[in-house]
Amino acid sequence: MRLLNRIFSEEYPFVLSCPALLWQFVFLYIPFAILAIHSIVDYIPEIQSYVLTSVYYVQIFNSLYFKVILRSFFLAVLTAFICFLIAYPVAYYLAMRGPKKYKTFLLFSLILPSWTSLIVQVYAWFFLLEKNGFVSRTLQALKIISPSFHLLNNYFSILLGMVSCYLPFMILPIYAVLEKMDKRLLEASADLGADKYETFKRIVFPLSLPGVYAGVLLVFIPSFGEFAIPTLLGGSKYIFWGNVIVDKFLRSRDWRSGAALVIIGIMLPIFIMLVGYLVSKIRTAYQRAAYQQKTNGPKDYWT
């Protein structure tokens, strides 16, 4: 009993945090270390030892693997962008203009479809869009498309699937920020002469940017690694980063170049987050520098 007490008091804080940290290390960090090592090490049978090599990385940059990475990157950007375009108005409406009583209900009916398995959502689109399916036959009947036109297995269907799966992840953070916004700031803005549009431009949107940033992160990074949606809705016509990795690890057992790909793939989002972090640091530094100036500061500050 005394031991339990000591664990829960400040004497042994590490005991309680150990399991979680252990788990994280064993199943996340060590594997990455292993992968990282795998990707830069090569076994030469002739001399029966390992050498450091960058051949796997070089391979990636020289070949069509690089195209694959770019393609995934582009898809992720596109998905994030379209999600943003749709999610922002929706979040704005729910947070600012929606009927107060049903706000939570509306929000969660919006989240509900995405809170089912990815498989279910993908299959739903698959079912909807497949050649002999509901939508196809309706559009054929209305003579909008020809009988041989495939709604499925193209970039458009992949995008549809991506956006519909990731849209709620963009809506939630933006909603959270907008909802928590101090409404009195909006009153003050109106009081000072700004109509709804000006208030949005000057107050609401700038203050909602943290939510937008969170949403972009939540959508961009996972959609970069998305492989099920392109496979099932794109019909193996397009190869993305996720597909290549699956292939390398599960099929061709080419672990070393697979590991290199994984490392590059993780580096990308980390790099982006780093850039974002640096940008905000630069901004604050610039503002601090501007403050150091006297009151009649440089003219271009007063915009």
Binding site: A188, D191, L192, G193, A194, P206, T295, W302
Partner: protein, 363 residues
Amino acid sequence: MKFIRLEKVSKSYDGEVILDNLSLEINTGQFFALLGPSGCGKTTILRLLAGLESVDSGKIYLGDEDITNVPIYQRKIKTVFQQYALFPHLTVFDNVAYSLRIKKLSRDMIKSKVLDALKMVRLSGFDMKYPRNLSGGQQQRVALARALISQPEVLLLDEPLAALDLKLKEDMLIELSELQDKLQTTFVYVTHDQFEALTVSQRMAIMNEQGDIEQMGTPKEIYEFPVSRFVANFVGSTNIIEGKLHIAQNSYNVEVEGLGLFSVYTPVEKFWMIPGCRLFISIRPEKILISKKPKEGFANHLMGRVVDIIYYGRSTQYRVRLKNGQFLLVFEQNEEHFPQESIDFDEDVHLYFQKENVVLLEH
């Protein structure tokens, strides 16, 4: 001379009636205070004036113009909010410049106006700071500058000093008063703190919990000559004694059960004062003289026993029990370090007051 005029304004919220056919007039260039207990509707009036809410019925006039349906961002009325509502992502400069930027003034013009405004509220040099780095008092001054820079016709202040401590409050009240005097803008100041209202306003209105205006007048009028028990009690403290009116030739007297007859002043034409009617006497505690020894020259005299003494620093408050069981509050200014006569608990004391120092109230 422009007036602010509310004409028969009604406002309900969620089925609850806050204001019912209320009419109010405020003169130009005045420092006007709206005083009342929490929930009486004074903030609602402010919001209606600002345009943050719309009236259910009635009209609002600013001078000759009917502004009832004018949207908030087009009104020439600006507000200082209770918690200042400064934009956290903008610097002090940008906050103050906000309304000018909306109007699309030139960059140089904005710059000079903002710096002047900051100088006016004594915050020169703070223009690059963010609201989160400022103290409460400083934030409040930014809010003031921000509202006043566009030279509105009316400035509304919604309990602006509520979050400040006493010393700061007193300083800010003086500053506000001087500011208004210099600018001659109409200030409408809403508060539940009577001290603030009395100190700073030139004219004030008292509202009761039902949302009606009980009395309007200068602070002195309201304090010295309240028209109801509510006003007498709400502003300062007072003693209320119930009695029956007797009129004999030209002298007015009030008979109080158990205490006898009190001589009161001859009022000017009060239509409700029929002989024999029930009324209330209001006597302010500072207008009663308390003494252990008997004194001469006072129209009214009571005996009582001291049951409670509270020391307030500059004054001492005595609670005295009268013959008929009623209690009276008496304030005595602590004029001397070593008073000749000190009054203790459970002592029998004489209470005196003049007939001019009471107010007769109907209700």
